[in-house]
């Protein structure tokens, strides 16, 4: 059926019939023979629509059957009716967890990739560092700059790449290190290879990250030379403090 567009008169008459019109509107409709006739037609339609004959027996049967059906549903079946919503909620939660995990892995992966540069993994770097060459030297310079740049971004007092004798063109990337171990390993490799600074222990050999020397400054996770200054990397919660070994003075800090 085509439904007519809004007709102002019908809207007014309809509102009067529904008790949604003002007194003035009601009076104007009552005073207008055409609108009054229209009101009567609409009123008759209403009466006709309300004239619904319904068998009480039929409705009682329907109601009894519905209540019995509901009461007779075993708990398992009722739970099953709710299960789709619950499952949807659980699935949504899993989705969020998966998305968060994927985001963490992605960030960690990007960080690891940028911290390693083009030379591969830190372990590979360490093994390659035993054989000096132009390419390795270039990588060493870049890695040194990474560490210096990290410190500069953290506290602003850590010697810059330039101060540490590293070319200014080397990238400085604070967030590029995936973990402290990776940072320490990269740092140790580069300073050992560069020769500008050395990772030291009691014997002057490269320190293993897992067994750092303990001093009154705190427990460092690594030691190294920045320029001519022996520094220690000390873990403070999520932060790494770079401390001058001789004076225990904080040079800078960063968050890996």
């Amino acid at each position: 059926m085509n439904v007519p567009d809004d007709l102002p008169d019908d809207l007014v008459v309809s509102a009067v019939l529904d008790g949604a019109a003002t007194d003035a509107t009601r009076r104007s409709v009552a005073a207008d023979p055409v609108l009054a006739a229209r009101l009567a037609v609409f009123g008759a339609l209403r009466d006709e629509m309300r004239d619904v004959a319904a068998s009480d027996d039929l409705l009682d049967q329907l109601r009894t059957a519905a209540v019995a059906s509901f009461a007779g549903e075993p708990p398992v079946q009722r739970a099953a009716q709710r299960r789709p919503r619950l499952a949807t909620r659980q699935w949504a939660t899993r989705q969020w967890v998966a998305a968060a995990a994927a985001a963490v892995v992605l960030v960690a992966g990007i960080g690891l990739f940028t911290s390693r540069g083009p030379g591969g993994s830190s372990a590979e770097d360490a093994s390659r560092s035993s054989t000096a060459g132009p390419a390795t030297a270039a990588f060493t310079e870049r890695a040194t700059a990474d560490v210096a740049g990290t410190g500069a971004a953290g506290a602003g007092t850590l010697p810059t790449a330039k101060a540490a004798g590293v070319p200014e063109s080397a990238p400085a990337n604070l967030g590029a290190v995936a973990s402290l171990d990776a940072l320490a390993a990269t740092y140790r490799v580069q300073v050992t290879r560069n020769g500008a600074a050395k990772a030291t222990g009691a014997t002057g050999a490269t320190q293993a990250t897992g067994a750092p020397p303990t001093t009154g400054c705190g427990t460092p996770v690594a030691e190294a030379f920045l320029g001519d200054t022996l520094v220690r990397l000390e873990l403070r919660g999520d932060r790494v403090d770079v401390v001058e070994a001789a004076t225990c003075k904080l040079i800078g800090s960063f968050t890996p």
Partner: protein
């Protein structure tokens, strides 16, 4: 025994009596805690309106019975989750309207069977009783109305919901409700032969 809205005693000038929401509130609380008698009483208070909505929405008794039973079952299942943001009767009408819309969708997927609006119109020609003829004619005219318009009109005429309540049930703006009801009435009156009289009102302009 059967009952009709028009034949029932009405407290306010012929309008159908709305179930008491105060009684409903108490019964809803008990029904939500699993009292079967309370649930039964609640449904009994609303069953005539539920069926009337279904009959006017679907246009035939068989579908109306199915939709009514589905609506009753939905009320049973949902009463414990009824959040009381609206009156219980408004919520029941929403559930019933949705059951009718589901029934209409199911019917749309079924092959045309007896009881469809087309058959209602056909039966009008052979029905001997004028009252029956009038009822079937109204049902057929209602069935020809777009379902959105029909729902708004049915909720207004049978459930006495105001525009705001109908808007809540159908999730449309109140202005749209007002327009749909007026247009549905105009379409029905035209379809049933009550065309608007020519505009012969006197005007102030010469």
């Amino acid at each position: 025994m059967s009952s009709s809205y028009a034949a029932r005693p009405e407290p306010t000038g012929g309008a159908p009596r709305r179930p008491s929401s105060i009684d409903d509130a108490e019964l809803v609380g008990r029904a939500a805690h699993g009292e079967r008698d309370a649930l039964n009483t609640l449904l009994r208070q609303h069953q005539h309106r539920m069926y009337a909505i279904c009959l006017r929405m679907t246009g035939n008794e068989a579908d109306a019975r199915d939709a009514t039973q589905e609506a009753m079952l939905a009320v049973c299942r949902g009463v414990s989750r009824f959040d009381r943001r609206s009156s219980f009767s408004t919520w029941v009408y929403r559930v019933t309207t949705n059951a009718c819309l589901d029934e209409l969708r199911r019917r749309a997927r079924r092959p045309l069977a007896s009881g469809s609006p087309t058959d209602v119109t056909t039966r009008v020609q052979v029905a001997p009783d004028d009252a029956v003829t009038a009822r079937l004619t109204l049902d057929a005219a209602l069935a020809r109305l777009p379902v959105d318009f029909r729902a708004a009109l049915v909720l207004r005429e049978l459930c006495e919901l105001d525009y705001a309540e109908i808007a809540q049930v159908l999730r449309i703006p109140p202005g749209t409700v007002r327009s749909r009801i007026a247009r549905a009435r105009a379409a029905l009156s035209r379809d049933l032969g009550n065309r608007p009289a020519p505009d012969d009102r006197p005007t102030n302009t010469p």
